[in-house]
Amino acid sequence: MRTIVRVTDRILETPSTVTLRFPYEPRAEPGQFVMVWIPGDDELPMSLSYPSTASKGITVKVMGDTSRRIQTIQPGAFLGIRGPYGNRFDLRPRRILVVGGGSGAAVLAPAAEAARVLGASVVVALGATRSSELLFRDRFIAMGARVEVATDDGSEGEHGFVTAVADRVLAGEAFDAVWTCGPEVMMRKVVDSATMRGVPVYCSMERHMKCALGLCDACAIGPYHVCIDGPVFPADRVRSLPDFGAFHRDPSGRRVKF
């Protein structure tokens, strides 16, 4: 089931974020994820920050023990990859607002690139704690997106949260869709804001996963499973879920507050 690959490149994107590139042939679309096995350690879901080429990539931000260990992986190391799993972004909208926080840009950048190739206009609201943590800012600029930035400490762009930037942009321009990925509390705000203005909005969700095959319920949210019904969810699905932006499940299945 798993393909054992060797890491070809390790790129430091920001002080807290690393991209690993590896050869993996199966076709994947923006939005999809793979299960990444670090032999002897753990296996966890990672969105493909580079899904569309034979050389694929995952972009990992330090969040806990396993991601910290992933960051020490060097070219030549083995990884076990299975997938891709999950659904993809609908690339039909012509005017897209992309709202990214945390490491959300890892999911959104390849989707925005694919949309740009199809001729869509893309505006990006990108947030981070500080200027050096703005993930894939240059990648968004290179693809011809207009990028508006917010930092918690004001070191670049607007001093504040990316949700405020998104609100301002939504108030001033028309969009066919909003795509968002980042901390779920942030995504909840973006969903409310876009929905209030009648703009369809899609979230890329994440949950603890074990099987990624739709069997074990680890990633269950309401009646859905992130691994087979997501990770990309339209607003009308997530807005009705009491857990959205509020609770997730720990590895035992207990509900835990965000």
Binding site: R2, I4, E43, A220, P251
Partner: protein
């Protein structure tokens, strides 16, 4: 159209296809979803005394469409939290069987007692779990121990008690007989087969726990043999589990002696829609074979008088 309703261990079921324990059973919404998708009943995740995170990943490996190897390690939120999930499934009107596991007869009995207060219609005992004291040996691999566990549970609950038998033993029928002797209302057979996968490039087992349990089509012949032998040895109903992917597989188990069936791994390959498909196809198959009620076909492959 043939009548698929069955009565098993005193529980009326709209069809014989139960959601197996361990699949979709951690959240109440998922149990409700399986019910709405057409399952005849849903069996919960095996619940223990305390929350368990389970083993680290990798916890599953698939073999094309013929097998699934898992070493999840019984992750579950624990009996204190679980009643909330059951409530969500009850609101959907589901027929729910509560699965529990413990390391001792006393632990099984206490858990069964608590599970019985949540609104489930029966208790299924997961006897394929490690000893509290030992590691690796299944708690339910010794007939004497099985009888003691079942007896302790039956003394503490009024609901029917189903004993789920392990195939990892030389005499599964003896385990089933022991469970009957202890007062079990039904037997479910089989749980997963002890199995292993190794990655030859990495020179290590694929699953983090190493040894796991095999399920899916590959184990169907083993499950059938166990059901066959158990049916010959006990008088209580048998629930068939192991590699049921389609209506023919289901009818094989019924003719071997099963009155109801559990579906698990089939959901990996066919999605939750497998329940509606199985019910439809089994009805059509029975019509084809001139069988008007599923219950008529139970055990007919035996040359019992």
């Amino acid at each position: 159209m043939a009548d698929l309703s069955v009565r098993c261990a005193g529980v009326p079921l709209r069809n014989p296809f139960l959601l197996a324990s361990g699949i979709w059973g951690e959240s109440g919404d998922s149990l409700a979803g399986a019910w709405r998708a057409g399952a005849g009943g849903v069996i919960t995740k095996s619940i223990g005394s305390a929350p368990r995170p389970g083993y680290p990943n990798p916890t599953v490996e698939t073999y094309e469409r013929w097998g699934l190897l898992n070493a999840m390690g019984l992750p579950n939120p624990g009996i204190d939290e679980y009643p909330t999930e059951i409530e969500a499934a009850r609101r959907a009107g589901a027929t729910i069987i509560g699965s529990v596991f413990g390391g001792s007869a006393e632990e099984f009995a206490t858990l069964a007692h608590r599970m019985a207060t949540t609104g489930v219609v029966a208790i299924e005992l997961n006897l394929s779990c490690p000893h509290a004291e030992g590691f690796g040996t299944e708690v339910g691999s010794d007939p004497g121990e099985v009888e003691e566990i079942v007896r302790s549970v039956v003394a503490r609950v009024k609901l029917p008690v189903i004993a789920k038998i392990t195939p990892n033993t030389s005499d599964p029928a003896a385990l089933a007989a022991a469970a009957e002797h202890g007062g079990a209302a039904a037997i479910s057979a089989i749980n997963t087969l002890r199995a292993l996968a190794i990655d030859v490039r990495l020179r290590r087992p694929v699953l983090s726990h190493g040894i796991g349990g095999l399920s899916g089509s590959a184990i169907k012949p083993v499950g059938l043999a166990c059901v066959w032998q158990i049916y010959e040895q006990v008088s209580i109903p048998v629930i068939g589990v192991g590699g049921i992917m389609n209506a023919e597989d289901a009818l094989e188990y019924v003719m071997a002696g099963a009155r109801a069936l559990e579906i698990g791994t089939a959901i990996t390959f066919g999605g939750i829609g497998v329940f509606a498909r199985l019910a439809h196809d089994l009805s059509a198959l029975l019509d084809d074979l001139g069988i008007s009620r599923l219950e008529e076909a139970v055990g007919v492959a035996h040359s019992k008088p």
